[in-house]
Symmetry: C2
Subunit: 206 residues, 2 copies
């Protein structure tokens, strides 16, 4: 049996089109919304309807922003010659929360994925090359997820950037802090032996 209201059905369809939300969850969300004040719903709807219009991309790094330049690119105190390449803004939030990075970012907006029909031209890659060409960068940190798509994109970027006089680095991979060796997968443990590094007293947790 279908839902006995076309309007509820339509709204359920919209919610169910979101990633990770099925029809049952969508109906639960809509029933919850029906119990709210009209004003609250209008505010939600207005924000949703205007989001595409109001939110723009930073013209430098491609991060989502309300202005032409995002809050990170417009900070003079940051090291603008170090550029960390990430997939989307969630990676920026994760890296910023470490408080260990003081360079700037470049947001690709995705990774190369032939399965999902995403090629290099669908990503924010050319502006990155432009930034390097213009001599803005001394180091590019490739910080994409280590999936097959992430690795493909890393490789593509590395080839594009190899001819420039710029240092190309990537995040270190190894045993996670707080993880027991015996439970670490072989690939990670193997890499952490190959990439072993000098012991540093400052990094010991006190």
């Amino acid at each position: 049996m279908s839902i006995p209201s076309k309007h509820v059905e339509d709204l359920v369809e919209h919610f169910a089109s979101l990633p990770g939300i099925g029809r049952k969850t969508a109906l639960r969300l809509v029933l919850n919304l029906l119990k709210r004040d009209e004003d609250e719903l209008k505010a939600f709807a207005d924000t949703l309807g205007l989001i595409k219009e109001k939110v723009t991309s930073c013209k430098v790094c491609g991060n989502i922003s309300d202005a032409d330049m995002c809050s990170i690119c417009s900070q003079n105190s940051r090291k603008h010659e170090i550029i960390c390449v990430v997939e989307d803004i969630r990676d920026i939030l994760a890296i910023e929360s470490t408080q260990q990075y003081f360079g700037v970012y470049h947001v690709l907006g995705g990774v190369i994925s032939p399965m999902e029909g995403v090629g290099p031209n669908d990503l924010n890659i050319d502006p990155l090359i432009d930034r390097v060409t213009e001599g803005q960068a001394s180091e590019i940190i490739l910080a994409l997820n280590s999936s097959m798509e992430g690795d493909t994109t890393n490789f593509f970027l590395f080839r594009k950037l190899a001819d420039f006089d710029v240092k190309i680095t990537t995040l270190s991979r190894g045993v996670a802090v707080g993880t027991e060796l015996q439970y670490t997968d072989e690939l990670t443990l193997g890499r952490s032996i190959i990439n072993r590094m000098p012991f540093d007293m400052n990094l010991v947790r006190k």
Copy 2:
């Protein structure tokens, strides 16, 4: 670090106010929405903004409906003297999908829950009493979930309805079809022994 766009932040707040959706999930949903066409977002926003205005309650049973009377109450072929009392429309969808019930419904819109500040007056109970008073009902099926709140509400309704000449029944509780006895909890297994019933060849799965 917070999201570098007030509009995205606002929309994330709205999504995160929905049940079962945290801030990280909300951000994922919003990033997904930002990749959509403007038209699609407008359609979503319009449906959302108008939902409260367009969707009404069936004046008979309280079910959500686009018209004064819902599609079930307006069916002549159903047995209008048998009323099944449920918490919300999801329970109706579940019961309808069994194709074993041909009566009508009464939607309470919740259950009595002192913890959440929901009392009998917040629920659609008086119209149910009216339906019984007017002699519309010969049987009331109490089909609320067997939680503490559901049981409290069942008890409240039973006391309210006891003086009327109406049969009051409830869903049978017992071992679920396809479940092994050894994995059934004691309460359920105990009830299914107390409420044992005559063997019926027609209910044997073939």
